[in-house]
Structure formats: C-alpha cells, structure tokens
Chain length 234, copies 2
C-alpha cells in the first residue's frame, strides 16, 4: 500500500491518498474542499482509480471535498452510520471491511471526539482521524463528544493494536507527521503513560478551547458531503 | 531506515529525522533553529543517538538548528566543502559515504540552487534539499546559483537514479510531502517532460521572485551553524 500525506495549511488538516500498487485502486481519506483541484491533479498524474472517499467523521473545522471528488471520480463516500449523513454511499459499522485492490481496510468505530469517528486500519497503518493525534487527542466538548467514550476508544481499541502500527492523524499543529502506537502509549500528553480515566477526564474538562470558527458552516457542509457553495478563505 | 518528516510552518521547511532501527543511530537533515526543542524532545522519546546533523546547503530562508543540536547531542555537522563553513565538522565531496548503523548515506553534489548543495541518498530515498522540490526546483538567482549547473544536477544526477527513488525535499508550499524520480521526470513543471536547457533557463530567468526576507540574517547565521542570537519570529 502506498501512502501520500497531503496538508491543508488553512485548517491544519492532513488528507491521505492511499493506493494499491498492483491495481492502482485508491482511496482519499479526509479531503478538504479547497484542495480538490490539487488532489485531483495528483490522482491523475499517478494514474489512480479512486474507489473510496473515506471520512473519519463529520468534521467541525473544515468542509470535506468528498462530494466534488465523487463527482469527478465516481468513487463512493464512506462514513460511520452514526454520522446521520444523507449523502454518503456506504454507512459503516464496527469491523466492516472494504477492499482496495489486494488490500483490506478495516473499520474500527472509535467514538469520543464525536459519536461517528472511524479509524481506518490498513496493513500496519491506522488513520485515526481526530480520535488519536500525535501526543494529543481530539476534544470532546461538542458534536456529541464524550470523554469516557474517547478514553475507551483509545485505551481499549487503539492501544491494543500492535505497538509498531503507524498512526496517521487528521491534524497536527506542531509540524509532526506520524507516530506509532508504542509512542502514543508512552508519550501522549493526555492519555499516555497509563493515565487513569480520572486523570484524562480532568485534562479534557479543563482545555478551555474556543469553538472552531467554522463549526456553524462546517458541520452542515459536511452533512451535505461538501456539496455547498462557500467562500471559506474569506 | 526509519524516516520522520517534520515541518516548520514559519519557513515552510521540512526537517527529517532518520534512524537505523537496529542501532538507533540517527541523523537530522536540515534542522530549523526555532524547532530545536521539538526535535530534541522527539529524539529523546525515540531513544535515538544522533550521529550526524546533515545540511543540504547554506540556506537563505531560515537559520539551521545544527549548532544548538550539536551542543545537545555531540553529533557532527556535515555540509559540502564548497559551503565555506568554518564551524562544520565534516566537509563533504561527491560520492563520499557516511554510515548510520547498518545503513550508508551517499553524498551527491547537486549544485545549481547554490554551489554547495548536497543530495543525501539513503536506501531508496533522496533528500534533495532545494535542488529538486515536488513539481518544482530551487531558484538560482543568488548565493552563486547557476541555472546550467542546476539543470545538469537534476537531469544528469537525480533523474538517473532508479525511478522509484522517493524524493524528500527541503520545502513545500502546497501541502505535498514526497514524490518519486519517476513523477518528477514526468510532471515537474520546470524541468520535467524532457524540457531542454533553453526551456528550463527561460522559466528560471523569468520567475521574478523577491529576495527571501531573511537572507541577510540567514546566510551569515548558517555559516555560523546557527550559533546566533536571533528573534526570527519578530
């Protein structure tokens, strides 16, 4: 499996283009509306056939490019069934498996940041969305976020993956690009080093973060698969 | 060989932390002064012993963190002999080889952006500095830049590497993280698709770029290996 990491500087979002080398079947994970042309150019140059547009959850901080990418490629939009999406093609549940050429993509339901987060597990790589970030994790104070669910998702599902599993998150704010399960178990500042739920909860309850400035356009925009008119950069 | 890509948002610079899994011997390629603490934290957490601080050239757009990293790790600063550096520990020439655990790092002299550019070639990965960027290349209008030398470096040295060689550049401005020799031969907008020297030269002579805003502090700062007091972010 080939993995190409792409970044949107405006929203600090990582998009991933992944493909099976043999068949050139591809998936785009967490695209960004404003980067659709960049992503399409890459897809064309690499000679890929996009089969899936995988969303890790309904984002609050940017609008997905999945709708426009579906129009251009014919790929299917995939998101967890809890999302309430009316425009996705495939609504997933825990342990569903998709195939990409000779590869398997396994869905792990990892709620907590929202109620509809999926981690996509592909041959030693875990695309963790906002559930597990590098030395960090997603917030739990809106969109049906739930600190206890996030603690369970990370400690019971992600931290039980093989230690060498590579973590590819949906965001980073420090210039970090990837991690491993072993590293996050040891060094994640919110939940690593065997922190108890009480310790984790205490940290999460005191983050004092402002709402994402685009939440009021991003959530409805993402429920519409990004098929919206917007002037995000203004 | 493990590769961890790190990014500095202020100067759009990629730093690379690479290490041999067996011995944990590591090198840092093109560090950034303001990110030394972040990089040291990663080095410590990963349990690495830094042996080399590899500079691809004397940068004009940011100040290296090599000097401070040498103080903290005891590693040797490596740069091409043409740099005129008085503070580096190893001055390299074409085809020199360094070892990192069980791995070899081969130096390819790829001048043109400056007269002292090195590409570091390590097991199928080429760290190309500003010589070859993704779909782009370094400018040639200062610091002994030379369009003919850059054309030769890219077409005669880099484009003759195996096509699957992965390109890791020193900068990107579009959110792209890596490429391959095959992709750049085909799609590089300045020199790909078999462009003649005349076509390349015509593009490079008409870029009309402003000087990097930090060139007057960056070049002397880098000639001093980053051992300078600065308030770069102001």
């Amino acid at each position: 499996m080939k993995i190409r990491q792409l970044f949107d500087y405006e929203t600090w979002t990582y998009t991933y283009l992944i493909w099976d080398e043999t068949t050139k079947e591809a998936a785009v994970i967490d695209s960004v509306l404003e980067q659709v042309n960049r992503d399409m150019q890459h897809i064309t140059e690499l000679g890929l056939t996009v089969k899936y547009l995988l969303e890790t959850h309904i984002h609050a901080d940017h609008i997905t490019g999945a709708g426009p990418l579906r129009e251009k490629t014919g790929a299917k939009i995939v998101i967890h069934k809890n999302s309430g999406s009316k425009c996705a093609d495939i609504l997933t549940s825990e342990n569903d498996v998709l195939t990409l050429g000779t590869q398997e993509i396994r869905i792990i339901h990892t709620p907590g940041h929202t109620d509809n987060d999926s981690t996509y597990l592909i041959k030693g790589a875990a695309f963790t969305g906002d559930t597990l970030l590098i030395r960090d994790c997603g917030r739990t104070d809106f969109q049906l976020g739930n600190t206890q669910a996030l603690y369970q998702s990370i400690t019971q599902k992600l931290f039980t993956l093989p230690e060498e599993t590579v973590i590819f998150p949906a965001h980073d704010y420090e210039g970090l690009s990837q991690s491993t399960i072993a590293e996050e178990k040891a060094f994640n500042i919110r939940i690593g080093a065997n922190k108890s739920f009480e310790e984790f909860s205490n940290i999460m309850d005191n983050l004092m973060l402002p709402d994402p400035k685009r939440i009021h356009i991003a959530v409805p925009g993402n429920l519409a698969c990004g098929n919206v008119k917007t002037n995000q950069k203004a």
